[in-house]
Symmetry: C2
Subunit: 364 residues, 2 copies
Amino acid sequence: MDFSIHAEDGRARTGKMSLLNGTVTTPVFMPVGTLGSVKSLTPHDLEALDAEIILGNTYHLFLRPGMEVIDLAGGLHKFISWKKPILTDSGGFQVFSLAKLVKLTDAGVIFQSHIDGKKFQLTPELAVDIQERFGSDIHMVLDECTGYPVTHAVAAKSMRLSMTWAARCRRAKKNPSLQQFGIVQGGMFEDLRRESIGALTDIGFDGYAIGGLSVGEPKEDMLAMIDVCTEKLPAKKPRYLMGVGTPLDIIEGVNLGLDMFDCVMPTRNARNGALFTSTGKINIKNALHQRDFTPLDASCLCYTCQNYSKAYLRHLYIAKELTYYRLLTIHNLAFYLNFMREIRAAISEKTFGSLLMKSRELWG
Amino acid sequence: MDFSIHAEDGRARTGKMSLLNGTVTTPVFMPVGTLGSVKSLTPHDLEALDAEIILGNTYHLFLRPGMEVIDLAGGLHKFISWKKPILTDSGGFQVFSLAKLVKLTDAGVIFQSHIDGKKFQLTPELAVDIQERFGSDIHMVLDECTGYPVTHAVAAKSMRLSMTWAARCRRAKKNPSLQQFGIVQGGMFEDLRRESIGALTDIGFDGYAIGGLSVGEPKEDMLAMIDVCTEKLPAKKPRYLMGVGTPLDIIEGVNLGLDMFDCVMPTRNARNGALFTSTGKINIKNALHQRDFTPLDASCLCYTCQNYSKAYLRHLYIAKELTYYRLLTIHNLAFYLNFMREIRAAISEKTFGSLLMKSRELWG
């Protein structure tokens, strides 16, 4: 995998990943397109926002529309009309959180669909096969996701199972044009995280993700685990923190040497009326916006801020008008993607420390 | 009002209306933007569809966001960021259908909001005042809307009340830049329709609408009433059939000399998965579309047909993904607006008769 680091400021770094369907500048935030759309948006909206890569969920797409349709479409990119890179997860996270777990063995996992209760088996080999058939630029190994808190013994057993699955995923990989990332597990235990990284780097992946964080633990535990992982992960490979997080989580992660992030927060919050701006969070439901004809964020260049007032957006929200979802999702994603641009620029200009301080003041 | 007819073919005619915020080519279909948005779309989507005028609902906008917000915004155009013409109804139709009617007198009508039960009075004068404050390029007089069927006596009494209200609306009109349309009533009774037209033309309006149709009557009664009305309405003023209808209703109306139409059908049907195409109706839910990677309509130039397959749109619909609403609404409105372009071209080229025959075959 072609990953080049162009500038560093402390442990923060900025660079480029070359993937089959395009180049991604890091640190990057990946909007979440669970079921083959970033909810309420089109691929053209995402291009207008300058999103370079989106995330899809294997579990959801495997159930709907199912592999036959995606195969016939010629892959996920063609099915959803998105030409730039896609990263997909392995399905594991949803199997252990959303579906009903039927049986977990060393071989794999049997689960019941959350939609109709139908039974399916997911194995490391099938998770790779599905994602290669999607044509995902980056795909993730299947791992077991443990809850929080868990004992050292439980976390160790789970992590070691995930490491045997990781090795099987690597062996199952067929398409050399597609990148495969391993996932570090080990709960909140430093020794297990280090053991997991040792196992993964022995196998050798194109990039490394940190899983099992933001599962309910205190923030300081999350940052401590990231610190342990980024200290030990290979410097020349991209590092991805799965499912995280707030703007502050992201910049703290970058500060510890992370390169990639995804989270439903900007899109889900937008649908609930909670918006990120350069001066903090606002809730569009608040009555004080009723007669406020200024944009959500005076310094934002997004389509929504350039064209609509808080008063109009609040009206759409209160009246439950569908147009609302898209306009606010555009804004929140614009905020996140712009924040990543600021982070990258600050690293290049060696001013990352002051952006970090400013972010801690605003969001802490 | 500047309304010029450029070509006629039988009783069908095509022309232009010059309004305060732009020119509208007729026959025209007006997308419905009930609450200040055409559901799921933005003004830019409507511009991309080449919509020249949209409709807003006074009843809905009066309740939410309310007049104070729209006044402070500087009118409806500024509030919703739409620069082209707007036509608004008077609120009467919703008062008699959606709200709880409290009291109807010669003076006006007292109703309870369908949202919170709050009581309001609507008079002819207030209906004009509200719509002038909106800055509606065309506004409608307040009328009583009767059901179907009603006796001659009930229809006569109701129509005569509406005619006194029409006269009061004309007297209440203040802004000479905005156009005001009268509304023909009289149920399914030819004599009452003629009497109503006599009363309205004695007052003198900038255009004339036909109300009280498509309320449950047989299609032949609707067409017979349109026929009676367009025979007698002034030839040089625009004629508007309110709340109608299917593509066939529209072309039959044009055939009888009508110029303007509005209906929730293309937008509402889209949200329910029912789509218009050049070869007939389709329902996206249908399983036969599951593996169909062709566009909804191979001859359609809309954004949706140029970029997405039936299989993908069906997937979004089945999975209840929000992106669905906008993509299908765009298509159905593109179909309607393109159909109006075909109608206008056929009138100019004196081939309207054959387009009418073709439409009867396809939609009849």
